[in-house]
């Protein structure tokens, strides 16, 4: 179904269209917020809140970006606000254990490195961490990140460069071994 038509049907109160909109974006939204919040219950809460807000504000959507980008922007705002609320006091080790249990490890990084890297990413400033996760972990382009975060692609590149520089410092001993 055409995106514009889908939006019109949702605005008209069509429950089938609402479910179609949800199905079309839920996997991406959940994946995105999970990468940011790193915990299943919180990711579920953020995803739900993202769609509740998206449905509430759909009438304000002007089509200046793709619907997916617009929803993604809401998702990131919700996830970052959620993280601020809990003051980032979640337990890194528990999250890693959960992630290892359900995720398929497709790469061959050493467990110790993965844990050190995860902690170093957690310690990044919020802006650096978000761009790093979107670019290096989720594979978004700088243009897409600019659309999601409401910044210029150049800003995204600069943030990524600074994030990597910080990780290099944090993992300097691993770099020397390579």
């Amino acid at each position: 179904m055409d995106e514009q038509r889908l939006i019109q049907r949702v605005l008209a109160g069509d429950p089938v269209a609402e479910r179609a909109l949800y199905d079309g974006h839920v996997d991406r939204v959940y994946r995105l917020v999970y990468r940011i919040v790193g915990e299943p219950d919180r990711a579920q809460d953020c995803t739900q809140e993202t769609f509740i807000r998206a449905f509430e504000r759909l009438a304000d959507f002007r089509g200046e970006s793709a619907l997916g980008t617009w929803i993604g922007r809401i998702a990131i705002t919700v996830a970052l606000n959620g993280l601020r609320r809990i003051k980032r006091n979640w337990n890194r080790e528990v999250v890693l254990d959960d992630a290892a249990a359900v995720g398929a490890p497709a790469h061959h990084a050493e467990p110790d490195l993965k844990e050190r890297l995860a902690m170093a990413i957690d310690d990044l400033p919020e802006g650096y961490r978000t761009v790093f996760v979107l670019h290096d972990v989720e594979g978004y382009t700088h243009e897409e990140i600019g659309g999601l975060l409401g910044v210029q692609p150049g800003t995204s590149k600069a943030q990524l460069s600074r994030a990597r520089a910080r990780l290099r410092v944090a993992l300097a001993d691993f770099a020397l071994e390579q």
Binding site: A99, P105, A109
Partner: protein, 274 residues
Amino acid sequence: MMDDRFDDWIEEAARDYNAPPEPPREAMWEAIAAARTGSTPAVRPIKPARRVRPIWALPLAAAALLLIGIEVGRMSRGASEPGATGAVATTGSDSAPARHDSIALPPESGQQLAQQQPESEPASAATARLANQSASRNTGPAGERLAKNELRSERSDRAYQMVIADYLTQSETFLSLFRTAVTEGRDDRLAPATARQLLATNRLLLDSPAAHDPAMRNLLQDLELVLAQISQLPADSSRGGDVRIITDGLDQNDVMLRLRAQTPARVNTIQGVL
């Protein structure tokens, strides 16, 4: 060269960072549908401000708060000085208070009020009651000192309650006005300056005994974050995203609701004191 290799190495290792499981699609959809039908609204709308004051009232209110803070500081300093007589007034001493005339009670007035209003027990009555209890328990110089200390402590607590109630009322008004200005697209260039003033008071309160209550401390910390964000808002047109983050933060942390929940109770308490 070395950096490029390391970046590739990090990029590969980072792909397992917060690896998401299969999303619980149906469970989430049911929760969304339930929230949208209104059974349990997940995102509670913030009602418009109940009282609308002109924007210039906020700096005036901040100045008034500052004066109250200075007076509290003077009172605390006076109470900690040996020989200060403000508290002695309520114990029936003949000597008049040397300072804080507006707060210290004349001799015997506390006892009279305690007899007249036994149910509501305003500040003066409570003060007299406490003084009498302490005096009856402990006679002699040691008992008098204990009574004085208790009176100082109680008076100090009330002073902090007054300041914090005033501060929370101002913060609520300011945030309501800010939100309304944002919603209606009105000019709010004064907002960062007012936020800075409130932020300064917030940090003083966070370091004060008023923040010993965990709920109050959490509220003050959430307020601190919001006020810090508003105080750093740029004046140009690039602020749209920042404003959205601030208003979303207000929604998500229920700051306004918690402020309103705290304010009436504390204002009533203060009215009882006065």
